[in-house]
Each structure stands twice: as C-alpha cells, then as structure tokens.
Amino acid sequence: MSSSKALPVSTPLLQKHFLLSRLHSLAGIVPLGAFLIEHLYSNAVALQGAFAYDKQVATLQGIPFVWLLEIFLILLPLLYHAGYGIYVSLLSSPNTRTYGYGSNWRFLLQRVSGIVTLLFVVYHVWSFRLKSAFFGTEVDFHAVSAHLLNPWIFAFYVLGVLSVTFHFTNGLWSGLITWGITTGPRAQQISGRILLVLFALLSVVGLGSMLAFV
C-alpha cells in the first residue's frame, strides 16, 4: 500500500517555498505595516476637522513621485503578500473544532482576516484611489463622509478596520517567531500581550477616526 499519504506535493510555486515565505513576512511587516501606521495616522487627522484632513490629503498627494511609492511600497508588496497568503491558506486544514487552543484560533483567524482584509482593501482602493484615478472624482473629507454615512458601508468598514488591525498585529506576533526573535514560550506570551494592546490601540484609532466623518 502507499505509505506516503501526506507527502510529498511538489508544485512549481513551491520550488522556493522558504525564500518566498520570508518575503511574504517581510512584505507584510515593512512596507505594508509601515503604510498602515501612516494611513491610520492620516485618517486620525480627520479628528481635527475637515480642513486639517483635506490639508493632510493634499500633502500626501503632493509627495514627489508618489506613484512610485504607491506601486513599489504598496501595490506590489500587497499583491505579493495577498497572493502568497491565499496560497499558504489553501495548504492548511483548520482544526479548531478538535483543538480549540487560543493559538490555533488565531492561526485560523489570521487566514480569515487576511481574506476579509483583501476584500476590504480592494473595495477601499477602488472607492478612494482608482475611481479618482480613472474618473477624476475628488478625494476629500466630504467624499469620505458621504461614503461612510451609508450604514452598510460603515459596517463593512468596521469589519475591515478590525480585520486589518488583527491581521497586522497577529502577523507581527507570528513574524517575531518567523524571524527567530521570540523563541521561548514566555517571550511569545509577552509579545502576544504587547501586541494585543497594540491591536486594541490601532483599532481604537481606526474606528475613532471613522466617527469623525459621520
């Protein structure tokens, strides 16, 4: 009989699995994580009113060669991170029903939040970047406000923001292990607690900024 039920699977994509997985982690933390922090900050400027927000938007839009940054520090890392992330998710068979440990739930939630984040980001980028690029629609306080006054969109944004902040902070927890920084259970427990606080803070900033628009 066959004794290799679980092994091996070899697909072309897997030829550089290790290197690609490290790039996946790096892409999520360095350009995307840094951009997330910047983005949450810029949104929070809305708490100072429409004028301050529009000024912040204009400042960002006025960065020289902003499109280079958008393509190489956001778009490409995002596409790669999402594509490889979906591929990695497909390799797993979640088993939280049998093994309901916290870390196993976070493993599952990391994959679910990744998919939700992707859907959210696609919709968000369409609404406030591509639409304006294609049709020249204005991106300002008023536009965001009109957008978020729709309760369905608002609810989707709440889910989206929480998915992003969870995916980022839990990804950092996992990344600290991937990069061999937190090796022992005690260190991983402490990093988990710190990142839980970061998750709460980023969520408060993200959701709080949304309230400024409605």
């Binding site: 679980a6 092994l7 699977v9 997985s21 390799l91 093994y99 493993f107 990391q110 991983q188």
Partner: protein
C-alpha cells in the same frame, strides 16, 4: 446490582483500501482502566452492543507507559496515547478513531512510515567513525545535555503531525517532529558537522516555511517536547543559513 459498563465506539476499517464504518461495544468496568485495557476486553469478547459477534478490534501497543509511541489514536476526537488515557477521565461513549494524517492499515492501526522517511530526509543521526575509529567525541556540558534530552524523548508517535493544521495530503510539510529532530541533531557537537545538510532539508519545500504557528504540536505532544521553541530557533538558524547562501551565491 447490575454490572457497570463502558460504552466504546470504534471507527473500524477492514483493510487499507476498504471503507471505514462504526461499531459500538460495551465493556465491563474495572477500577483504573485505560483505553488499552478496554480494548483488551473487546479483544477477549468481541461482541457488539446488538449482540453480534464480530472480528476483534486491531490496534497497536507496546510499552504501556507512554514511551514507545505505538498506541497513538484519536480518543474523543483528540490525538493522544491510549495507554495514558484513563477511562475514569473520559466522557462516554468513548470514541476511538485512527489518526487521520496517516494511512490506515486496519481499524486503529496506521502506517507511520512517513515520519521515518522524514528522519532520513533531515539526516536524523550522528555520523560516528568511518573506516577506522575516530576516538572519543567532545564532552557535552550538562546543561546542553539536559536541553538535548527533551528532544531525545521523541517517540515518533505522530501526535504533533496529527494536530498540525499544515500537515495534510495537500501540504508538503514534514511536520514538527522532523523539524525538532533536525534542531536536536544540530545541537550535538558531532551532529553539528552535518548542520548544513540538515538546514538544506529545513529550508526545502517540505521544511519549516510551512509552519503556521498554530502551536497545536506543543499542546498535544505527550512527551512535552518544546516543539515551538525548536521551530523558532530553527527559523533563526534557517534564516541565517539562507541569507549566507544568497550572499555567497
């Protein structure tokens, strides 16, 4: 007074290529029974709850003290050793199933060959002597011995592979057992001489890249081996190894 009975539900399979089916048995209760002694009762008197005499249940066991790894099975859903699963602590009916990550041979017996193949892939041995004796090896400090000993207790039982969501028929991952053993043999002063060869296996497509940090392995390991610590330390070693390779190439 009527005899106290234990209800046991077993997932059975007549042969590797047959379809599994369920059968229930009632076993007379004794004090301090474990799943093995309950299965022995079924072996003695293989009569189903409906009174039909059937083929006795097949399962594996050896040491009966949680050091051999032979009696791994899913007991009420979770993988563990049958010898240390005490009847008094289990909810009834007690549901027994073979591990699902491995091919089933018969009833509760699975083929764990993939784990031994993995040990070959990660070169899970210490190369000593060649055509002539090389003399005594270096001394190992007691604290290093203590650290290594934890990994030496691995009994290839398969619990970590069974519980890992990334070890399955559509993933290339060798699993936590092989990774921890790579780290174990790399920690030995003579084993270290083959560290690069083991790290090649660790960064291969079947290697550590597929670890998703669900950390189920360390939870289910009957030997309480610090598998997640091994994985994290191996991540660090593998990253350095990969970087050096890239810069050298």
């Amino acid at each position: 007074m009527t005899e106290k009975l234990i209800r046991i539900k077993v997932k059975r399979q007549d042969a590797a290529d047959q379809v599994p089916y369920w059968e229930e048995f009632d076993v007379p209760y004794r004090k301090n029974m474990n799943v093995i002694s309950a299965l022995m009762e079924i072996q003695r008197n293989p009569v189903r709850v409906d009174g039909v005499r059937v083929r006795s249940v097949f399962w594996e066991y050896n040491c009966l003290e949680e050091v051999c790894g032979a009696c791994s099975m899913r007991i009420n859903g979770k993988v563990r050793q049958a010898c240390s699963a005490l009847i008094d602590r289990l909810q009834q009916p007690i549901v027994l199933e073979p591990m699902s990550t491995f091919p089933v041979e018969k009833d509760l017996i699975v083929n764990r060959q993939i784990m031994f193949d993995s040990l070959k892939k990660i070169k899970g041995w210490i190369a000593i002597d060649g055509t002539y004796p090389l003399g005594a090896g270096p001394r190992i400090a007691p604290d290093e011995q203590q650290e290594a000993y934890k990994y030496a207790t691995c009994m290839t039982c398969g619990c970590c592979l069974e519980a890992c969501p990334n070890v399955n028929d559509h993933s290339p991952y060798l699993g936590p057992q092989a990774m921890a053993q790579a780290k174990y043999f790399n920690s030995h002063p003579i084993g270290k001489m083959m560290a690069k060869e083991r790290l090649e296996a660790v960064i291969s497509n079947a290697g550590i890249a597929s670890c998703g940090n669900s950390q189920n392995c360390v939870q289910v390991c009957p030997k309480e081996i610090p598998l997640t610590t091994a994985l994290a330390e191996l991540n660090r070693d593998a990253n350095r190894f990969m970087l050096r390779k890239l810069l050298k190439g």
